[in-house]
Symmetry: C2
Subunit: 162 residues, 2 copies
Amino acid sequence: MTQYQADSFDPRLDLVLERVIEVPPSLVWRAWTEPEHIKQWFTPKPWKTVECEIDLRPGGIFRTVMQSPEGENHDNVGCCLEVVPNKKLVFTECLGPGFRPRDGGLMTAIVLIEPSGSGTRYVACALHKDEADRKKHEDMGFQFGWSKCLDQLVELVTRLKN
Amino acid sequence: MTQYQADSFDPRLDLVLERVIEVPPSLVWRAWTEPEHIKQWFTPKPWKTVECEIDLRPGGIFRTVMQSPEGENHDNVGCCLEVVPNKKLVFTECLGPGFRPRDGGLMTAIVLIEPSGSGTRYVACALHKDEADRKKHEDMGFQFGWSKCLDQLVELVTRLKN
């Protein structure tokens, strides 16, 4: 666990996906921060990410529109909080662009990327306000969903690399 | 208006106090960021700020405990978002320390400080999620309260200066 996680990650409240993947940190960063890439891996198929907008600075928008297999769109607006290129991205659903308060946000997401051998140690945390929200997110399929998306990210990045 | 405000301040949703004060920006910054100073000006008398905790970095805590004249304590926990020494402080009530989501936050506060002659141009904005929250904050006495507190800040900083 990194210093950051030791400070703020709480297993009672939070969820985490941690894995070593065989692609370089710089490409994982690009996959996470460039809208054209996000659209290719961010939602577990057969769901799609049909729109994405990222203004990569504290206070900048982080927005995705997810489309269900039935064609229903879900608009998710959030705000970037910390941006450390190739290392750390933090964004929250509890604020909109310009740090404006917004209702109904479930989580703050922390993505940590660091070199591990020839690949990347990848840690994605979802921070929640209470145990009920952690449970809700778990029941929505956090582990399966985020893990399947990570497979899709690795597949995309492997194509970018070659 | 600064660039930042032009980007995010919305008169339908937000409240602002703007004034030129005859104290230097560096001392206004200290008054806003050092707990011992905050306790002396942050609540309009006869209210008191009886506790204050600030970890001055994005993700760090911004907490005050306000005490009513009847002795009732109100604990306000928030999170620092942007820290630009002597220039800009942003914190929100919608997140707790470590950027953890929290319920019931009314505003994100943006404090802008810049030199103006021998003094400081002081701008304090409160950003809200909707018009109802702006109205609620206005009815709680935003203009009177924040203005009176600014008088107290100027009084404190004038003492520090001499």
